[in-house]
């Protein structure tokens, strides 16, 4: 067991290290997220009531789109240089290795969004409490985006037009996360409390963390044939 965990840790570290040596790959989705969510207040105007109303939804749509931006690269680089074959031939189950890759993807694309979200919240005049709920919802929701995206990336691996296909395949599956993630902040703003929404997000995360790595590994084995 510990050998398997060590293999996963090594893969996580490798992905983080190669990303650190190509910082552009990490900066692009984050920059995209900041720019997209900054465009809306500029376009809509300084009407605070409206901004507060649309803010959470826009942050979430921005997170969705920026998460999918780097998704197709998750396995494509490994397929091209042959390291995916080596991962598939590791004594460690491929599902665990996929989970490690997803975690690396989340640390590189999801976690920065969570950190930068309070800044974006200021643009939409969200209160401190709503901002905290937004951060919590993103913290629980963005890993789900990475997990579902990984299954889509594995299914479309090596296909022509994979990037577009990936969007079409994965974006509809993101809807529950979008509904409950944005809904959590809306509920907080409406005085209902965000607990129910946060619980549902946590449930979605648990199910996705359990199922997606195995679905992804099955899809990868098919893609490798």
């Amino acid at each position: 067991m510990s050998a398997h965990l060590r293999a996963c840790a090594a893969l996580l570290l490798r992905d983080l290290r190669s990303a650190a040596r190509r910082p552009g790959d990490v900066a692009t989705p984050l920059f995209f997220f900041v720019v997209v969510s900054a465009l809306f207040p500029l376009a809509i105007g300084p009407e605070l009531g409206t901004l507060r109303l649309i803010g959470p939804g826009i942050v979430w749509v921005g997170a969705l789109l920026s998460s999918i931006l780097a998704m197709h690269r998750l396995f494509a680089a490994d397929l091209a240089d042959g390291s995916l074959e080596q991962l598939a031939l590791s004594p460690t189950p491929l599902g665990l290795l996929v989970a490690a890759k997803v975690l690396a993807h989340w640390l590189l694309t999801g976690a920065p969004l969570v950190l930068v979200a309070p800044l974006i919240a200021v643009q939409f005049d969200l209160s401190l409490n709503s901002t905290l709920v937004l951060v919590l919802a993103l913290l629980l929701g963005t890993p789900v985006l990475s997990l579902i995206g990984a299954v889509g990336a594995a299914l479309t691996l090596g296909l022509r037009g994979a990037e577009l296909l990936l969007c079409l395949l994965v974006l509809p599956l993101y809807i529950p996360v979008l509904v409950f993630g944005a809904g959590a902040v809306q509920a907080q703003l409406g005085g209902l409390g965000a607990q129910a929404h946060v619980s549902v997000l946590l449930a979605i995360l648990t199910v996705a963390a359990f199922l997606c790595p195995w679905a992804g590994s099955a899809a990868l084995r098919i893609a490798l044939e």
């Binding site: 050998a3 090594a10 240089d81 460690t92």
Partner: protein, 202 residues
């Protein structure tokens, strides 16, 4: 030790080979010959478990490799067309990562020794993207030196290598066979070791 029974393989709708049966014992090397597109790589990938055969089975130590892939993979090292190394990492980091994934983490001394053996002693801390094609192949060969695996499956190990490195491959394979290992190799050049021949597509 490795026995392949009545294997059949299809690519698209063409049948590449069928009813392929052979056995490789400890200390033996099987050299797979065949024209381009005869199914050499497909055969190797089926043996490793990367691809599925239409028919037939691959047995290791008398057991079907699909039953317990984990313990089979622990004894297997596969070198494919792509070296399986990351451009953003150094040769030493790549080898260290590979060994951890293979479940036998190497010490820095072992890594340095393995890279020395394949003639990359001075380049071990250089990023792989600075390497030439042949140097990348050499870096991939370092796995063979570093990792104790019983079965070597090598797809065109001599491609892109200079004369000295080709001889190195021959020496490595010969030493591996001497130590009781098995090797399954495709190559268009002579390997320089005593081997059984298998011709595909005749």
């Amino acid at each position: 030790m490795l026995s392949v029974q009545q294997l059949a393989c299809e690519r698209g709708r063409t049948r590449l080979f069928s009813d392929l049966t052979f056995e490789v014992q400890s200390g033996q090397c099987l050299h797979v010959h065949g024209a381009n597109g005869a199914g050499k790589t497909s055969l190797l990938r089926i043996v490793c478990g990367l691809a599925e055969a239409v028919q037939g089975q691959v047995c290791w130590r008398g057991e079907n490799t699909r039953q317990d892939p984990g313990s089979f993979r622990a004894e297997l090292v596969y070198l494919g067309h792509a070296p399986g190394l990351k451009d953003e990492l150094t040769a030493a980091e790549n080898l260290h990562f590979q060994s951890q994934i293979d479940g036998c983490a190497l010490s820095p001394q072992q890594i340095a020794a393995a890279l020395q053996r394949v003639g990359l002693g001075r380049q071990q801390h250089l990023l792989l993207r600075r390497f030439s094609q042949g140097q990348k192949r050499r870096a991939a060969l370092a796995r063979l030196v570093a990792r104790p695996a019983r079965l070597w499956v090598l797809d065109e190990p001599l491609a892109a290598l200079d004369h000295a490195a080709q001889q190195l491959v021959s020496q490595l394979v010969a030493a591996h066979l001497q130590a009781g290992g098995l090797a399954l190799v495709t190559s268009h050049q002579p390997l320089g070791v005593e081997s059984m021949d298998l011709r595909l597509g005749v």
